[in-house]
Each structure stands twice: as structure tokens, then as C-alpha cells.
Symmetry: C2
Subunit: 246 residues, 2 copies
């Protein structure tokens, strides 16, 4: 482990055990670090952008815009997450990505990445793995929006964010810092911002969670888990059926 671990490597190593040579390959992959301010798009919907990033600092979200002007947020990204992986694989980015806060992201060149996949199949399958986890997340959001009511859905999202942040050391069972506005929550949950506000009030009055001033306090973690029927299985898998390189 004496090779310096980038966020990218840290991410992939949660899926497979990386050998030293593989870590070196990953280290060589990194383009420069870029900073984005909130409000500036990183990837625009429909624009081909052969760039992927790994989020080093800050929050972002990926979304799709509808012709009517409404927006569906597909997922939030927190430090350690991939960003724009889909826009490498597809010629055109079906989704836009925008920072929530000031964001630092390491670029990973597309052509680079392609070569690595072909020369270094194990890394390729680790990426497939990671993409698969993101996919599981989207499925979970689909389930929530399709079959959970507003309160369950909101509770579930707050728990998911908490669990993910805890994985990278940015949260605990007690709570976490959360820079999302109620408008962003609404667009992720398929609700109106007004209704999100009322739901949050209800959750607060039931002493389950308090979300205020950029801070989520999980005042009754177990109660919230029960309410949301939260099951973290879709977050932490046991890893792919791939052996460590010898």
C-alpha cells in the first residue's frame, strides 16, 4: 500500500483488492484536479463529453431535464463517487451533472480509461462493478418514487445519504452535514418543494430526523429505519466474484 491512493483507487478498492501494479496504473490515470463552483454545469445534458471524474470534495448531482422545464435528479454524488461515467460509455451524455457546493474533482481521461479496460481486465471489471452499484442506487430511487409515499421516501433518502457518507467518513449514525436545499430534495424525490418542507416538519415533530441549517440530525435512527423500511444491503455488497491478482 505504499503507492499513494487517489480517490479513484480508494473507490475501486472497496470492490476488489488492488495489486501494487494495478494501483500504479490507476495513479498514472489521473488528469489534473479541477474546481467547480456551485451553479456552473460540469456536464451538460446532451453534450458529448468524453470525461469522467472522481469527486474528491464537495457534493454534486446528476439530473435529467424534461421539455416542460421540470427536473428529475437521478442521484447525488458525494466524495469518492464517480461522476459522468455514463458519459464516457455513451457518446452523448443523457444526463447533466451540476455541483451543489464548491467541488473538487479529478479528471480521468476517456481514451486513457478505455486502454486500461482493455489491457487491464480486472480493473475493467472493478469499474463495471462500481457502475453496477450506482445502478442499484438508481433502482432504489425508482422503487422509492414509484412505490413509497412522501414520508417514507424522504426518510429513505436521508438514511441512504447518511449511510453513504458514513462509508467515506463524513457521517455517523447521529447525523451528517448536508448542503442540499429543499428544492434539490424535491427534484430527487419527485415531489414539490412545498411538500418536502411539510414532510420534513412532520419528521421533525415525530422526533425522527431534524434537517436544519445544513445539518441532518438522526434523532431516532432506528425509528427512521423502521419507517423507511431501509435496508442497506444495496449499498454494501460483498464484492465481485473476482479473485485478487497474484
Amino acid at each position: 500500500m505504499n503507492v499513494q491512493r487517489s480517490p479513484f483507487a480508494r473507490k475501486l478498492s472497496t470492490f476488489i483488492d488492488l495489486s501494487e501494479p494495478e494501483l500504479s496504473v490507476l495513479a498514472s490515470l489521473h488528469g489534473r484536479r479541477k474546481t467547480y463552483r456551485a451553479g456552473t454545469g460540469m456536464v451538460h445534458q446532451g453534450q458529448p463529453d468524453q470525461q469522467a471524474y472522481v469527486l474528491a470534495e464537495g457534493w454534486a448531482f446528476s439530473y435529467r431535464l424534461l421539455p416542460g422545464g421540470s427536473r428529475q435528479i437521478v442521484d447525488f454524488q458525494i466524495p469518492g463517487d464517480f461522476l459522468g461515467l455514463r458519459s464516457i460509455m455513451f457518446r452523448s451524455a443523457g444526463q447533466g451533472v451540476e455541483p451543489v457546493t464548491r467541488v473538487q474533482a479529478s479528471q480521468v481521461g476517456a481514451s486513457n480509461l478505455k486502454d486500461v479496460f482493455e489491457r487491464n481486465p480486472r480493473l475493467g471489471s472493478a469499474v463495471l462493478w462500481a457502475a453496477s452499484r450506482d445502478d442499484a442506487m438508481v433502482v432504489e430511487h425508482l422503487v422509492g418514487v414509484g412505490r413509497r409515499n412522501a414520508v417514507e421516501r424522504t426518510a429513505h433518502l436521508l438514511l441512504e445519504l447518511g449511510a453513504r457518507l458514513t462509508l467515506v467518513g463524513l457521517g455517523t449514525k447521529a447525523g451528517y452535514d448536508c448542503p442540499l436545499s429543499q428544492y434539490l430534495l424535491a427534484d430527487a424525490l419527485g415531489l414539490s418543494a412545498v411538500h418536502v418542507n411539510r414532510v420534513l416538519r412532520d419528521l421533525r415533530e415525530e422526533n425522527l430526523v431534524t434537517f436544519r441549517n445544513g445539518r441532518v440530525d438522526l434523532t431516532n435512527f432506528n425509528g427512521l429505519v423502521a419507517l423507511a423500511n431501509f435496508d442497506r444491503d444495496y449499498l454494501d455488497h460483498e464484492g465481485p466474484a473476482t479473485q485478487k491478482a497474484h
Copy 2:
């Protein structure tokens, strides 16, 4: 093209140009063909099942069950589609899969598939590609359930199914055979079956689509596309940024 094309090969060749040797490798991959009757689960939610299939005939659907007893259908599978790809990658299947009609599926052994990925990176990346397309589909469903009303959403699903069936020669702009019940549609759309029925009646009375007796007639294709804001870009990409093997 003198190598016999399996559904698997046919599917992958929509993403990359397959060389003769690659086609042979794919041909060698096939386990036996299995038949499933409607009503019997193929993959059960939560059960690890290191099997993937390619649908050769019939329809199936992948779903998630909620503790309350409700069900969210994540996607429908039609001939040529992957099935249970996720259950190979993850130790546990987050989703169940069930046939809609009698189904014929070619098994693809997990260990086999892993080897192929590692020895044959181009095929691996084609699979990643295919998985990515499925992902785009799930995102589209999320957008629909989150931000489209019942009529738009239903119209959109009917158009998506039509487009996908047309790709594999099972449909035209005029219509297609569709074995789905209104209950299945409801669980895919995040609606009640009763409301799906009313929506279908509205669409019929507006002379846009008629869905009756297992047949979808697109009586006003363009009108329906306009209503649903249907954009097929997420279905047919230009293919991955991978060159043909020489």
C-alpha cells in the same frame, strides 16, 4: 457472418462489430436453453444466483418487492435482452425476475462469463456497454415515474416497448403484440391498475393508441410521441468508442 448468431451475439453486435473469432467465443459460451412458464420465478429477490440469461423467446420482467407487499417493476425484458446480469456481478440478486409469458432463455454460466471478460476485453466492454444501456432505461423510468403524469408516462412506456421490439424485428410503427396485463403495467408505472385502465381508455378515445387483447395499435404514432415527449436517443446509441477488431 457464417457463424450462427445466438441471441446473445445478436445483442452484443448492436453495440460493437464482432469479429469471427469473437463470434465463435460467444457461440461456445452458451449453456443449455431453459424454458420457464409464466408464474414461476426465474431469479428470486435476495437469492444469490450466479446465472445470467439471454432471453431467446417470450417476455419477462425484473422487479423489487417492498415489505408492504407492493411491487415495483424495474424493467421488462424482451427477446435479445439480458437477464440477471446484475445477479452475476453481485453476490446477491437485489431484484427478482419473473416470466410474463412462457420464456426460453439461454443460460450463460458465471464462471464462463468472467473468463471471457478477462481474456476478451472487447467483449467485456461490449457487455459493459449493454449494461449501460439497460441503466439508461432505468433512468428513463425514474424520470417518468418522478416527473411525468400518468398519461404521459403510460404513453412513454408503450412507445419505448414499441421501439425496442422494432429493433429486434417484433414490432413496427403501426403496433406490436404485448402480453402485459394492466396490473403489470401499473407496477411498472407506479400507478394503480384501476388508473392504468382509465388512462388506456383516454388514450384510446383520443385515437392515439389502442391496447386490447394483447395487441398495441399505434393509431397516431406522431401524436403519441408528441404527448409523451418521447425521444429515442436513450435507446439507440452510436455504439461504444471502441474500434472493430481487425
